[in-house]
Symmetry: C2
C-alpha cells in the first residue's frame, strides 16, 4: 500500500478480507492460531510452520532474523494484512528488525504476554518460563519493565517441557515432578502471575497450575496475542466480522508429521497441509 | 500490603472500595479524571492538583521526580489502590522512578496513548503533539517504538495551546490559524493518527480535527489512560462494579481558582475543593 492516509473508498472493506499470516518454527504456534480462530472466528488465516528448520530455540539471533525475513516476505506475497510471529524465540530475536523492514504490521508474542502479566499482578512478582533462548534474551524481563519499571521478574527455563509436549506427553507423575523441579524457585519467590512463554506450554496448563497453586494467574501468551490481534484489527477497522473463514496450513518439512502433530496443537482437524520450499538467498 | 500472593479472604472486595488517586500540576488532569469517571462510574476518586507549582512544563526532571514522590506519598496516605500521573511532563520524567520506589501500581498517560496510536495507524506515520518538555523528552517516540519499532513518529510542540485552553479560549479564527501553523508540518507527513499529548488538548479536538482532516484519528491520551485503568482493575479483580462513587478534589494553591477552572475541564460540577500544603523536605 502507499504510505498515504488518503485511502480509496472501500479500502478497509478490501483489507478485511485479506488473511492474517501466522508463523512459527513448527506446530507450536498453532496454539496461537487456535486462539485467533476462537476469538476472531471470521478471519482468514495462513499458518506457516518452518518445520524443516525446527527447533528455533537453538538458532542464533542472526539466523532467526534471516528466517523471519524470508517467511514474512513469503506471507506478504500471499497478501496478508498482518503477520504474527507466533514463536517466542523468533519474537525475541527478530521482531524489531522485521517491524523496521516491512510495511505490514507485525506482532510478536512477548509484549502481549508481558503486558497481561503486569496488569494482572498484585504483588508485582512476575514469573516467566520459556526455552533457554527466550529466557536468556531477557525479552520478557525488558517487556515487563516497559509496563512496570518496579516489577520483580523471576524467570526459569523448562528445557524438557517442549519436547515432552511435542511427543504427546502432557500428564502423569513424571511430568508433574519435572514441573515441580522447574517451578519451585518461582513459587518460593511468591510470583502471583506466571507467563507461559513458549507456545507448547499451554498444553501443560493443568499441571503447571497444580504445581503453582490455584491463586497464581497463568498468563497464556497465545491467548493474549490473539486478544491483541483483535484489538489491532478493531482499531484499524479491519476486523472481518462476518463470512466463512478459510484456513491454509503450510509446512517447510514433512507434511504428514505436521498434520498429525498439528491437529493436537490446534485442537481441531487440519484438512490439508501444503509444502513450500523457501528460497535461501545465499 | 505484604509482598505475598497469599492474600486473606475478602482481600479483593476490600481493595475494590479503595479510591483511585489521580494527580496533575493543575486542572488539566481533570480531563483524565472525567474519562475515568465516565468509564469507571463506581470508582471512588481522589484528584490532586498541584496548582501551587503549576506549570510542570518548565520544571526540570529532578524537580518533577521530587514532586511526583511527594504527591504519590500523600495519595498513599489516603490509601489509594492505584495512582495515575495524569500529566504528560511528570509521566515522561518520573513514572519509572515512581514505579521503582512505590508498592502501589502507578500508571502514566504516555504509554496508553502511544499504544492506541500504534494499534490505530495504518500507514504507520504517527503524530504526537505536546508541550515543549514532553516533546523534548522523546517519551512518546520511545513508547511508540516499543510497540512498533518501524513506525515513523512526527512530533510538534504547540506552545500556546495550553494557556489558551486554560483561559477558556477554545474556538475562533485565531485559534484555528494557530492550530494550522502548529499542525501543517504533521499534515505534510501524512500522519494518520495523532496523539493529543497534553491534558489540555482534548478541549481543542474540534479545531484539531478540522485542521488535520476527518480521516486522521485523534488519540485522546486521557481516554486511553481511562481504558487502561479499567483493564488494570479488571485484570486484578479490583474493579468497583456497583455502589455510589465519591470524589475528593485537592489543590495545593488557590482553591477558588481551581474550582472555577476545574469545572470546565471536568465537564461536571465540583462541589468542594480542599487545600493541602505538602511537606517539602528540604
Amino acid at each position: 500500500m502507499s504510505k498515504s492516509n488518503i485511502r480509496p473508498l472501500g479500502y478497509n472493506a478490501y483489507m478485511k478480507n485479506k488473511p492474517i499470516g501466522i508463523f512459527d518454527s513448527g506446530v507450536g504456534g498453532l496454539t496461537v492460531a487456535a486462539q485467533i480462530m476462537e476469538k476472531l472466528p471470521n478471519e482468514n488465516i495462513i499458518y506457516f510452520g518452518d518445520t524443516a528448520r525446527f527447533p528455533y530455540g537453538t538458532k542464533s539471533a542472526t539466523e532467526l532474523i534471516e528466517y523471519t525475513f524470508q517467511i514474512v516476505k513469503f506471507l506478504r506475497e500471499q497478501d496478508v494484512k498482518l503477520a504474527v510471529i507466533a514463536c517466542n524465540s523468533a519474537s525475541s530475536a527478530a521482531l524489531e528488525k522485521a517491524q523496521e523492514h516491512f510495511e505490514i504490521p507485525i506482532l510478536g508474542v512477548v509484549e502481549p504476554g508481558a503486558r497481561a502479566a503486569v496488569l494482572a499482578s498484585i504483588n508485582r512478582h512476575i514469573g516467566a518460563i520459556g526455552t533457554e533462548t527466550t529466557i536468556k534474551s531477557d525479552a520478557y524481563k525488558k517487556a515487563i519493565h516497559m509496563f512496570d519499571a518496579g516489577a520483580q521478574v523471576f524467570s526459569a527455563t523448562c528445557p524438557s517441557f517442549a519436547s515432552f509436549v511435542e511427543n504427546g506427553h502432557i500428564e502423569g507423575d513424571y511430568i508433574y515432578e519435572m514441573a515441580e523441579k522447574y517451578l519451585t524457585p518461582l513459587k518460593k519467590q511468591e510470583v502471583d502471575s506466571l507467563i507461559l512463554g513458549c507456545t507448547h506450554y499451554p498444553l501443560l496448563s493443568d499441571i503447571i497450575q497444580k504445581v503453582m497453586g490455584t491463586e497464581v494467574k497463568l498468563i497464556n501468551s497465545a491467548e493474549e496475542t490473539a486478544l491483541e490481534v483483535r484489538e489491532v484489527l478493531e482499531r484499524k477497522d479491519q476486523l472481518r466480522k462476518d463470512g466463512k473463514s478459510s484456513y491454509r496450513f503450510i509446512s517447510t518439512g514433512d507434511s504428514s508429521k505436521f498434520h498429525k502433530l498439528g491437529t493436537r496443537f490446534l485442537g481441531r482437524e487440519i484438512k490439508q497441509v501444503e509444502t513450500v520450499k523457501l528460497d535461501v538467498e545465499h
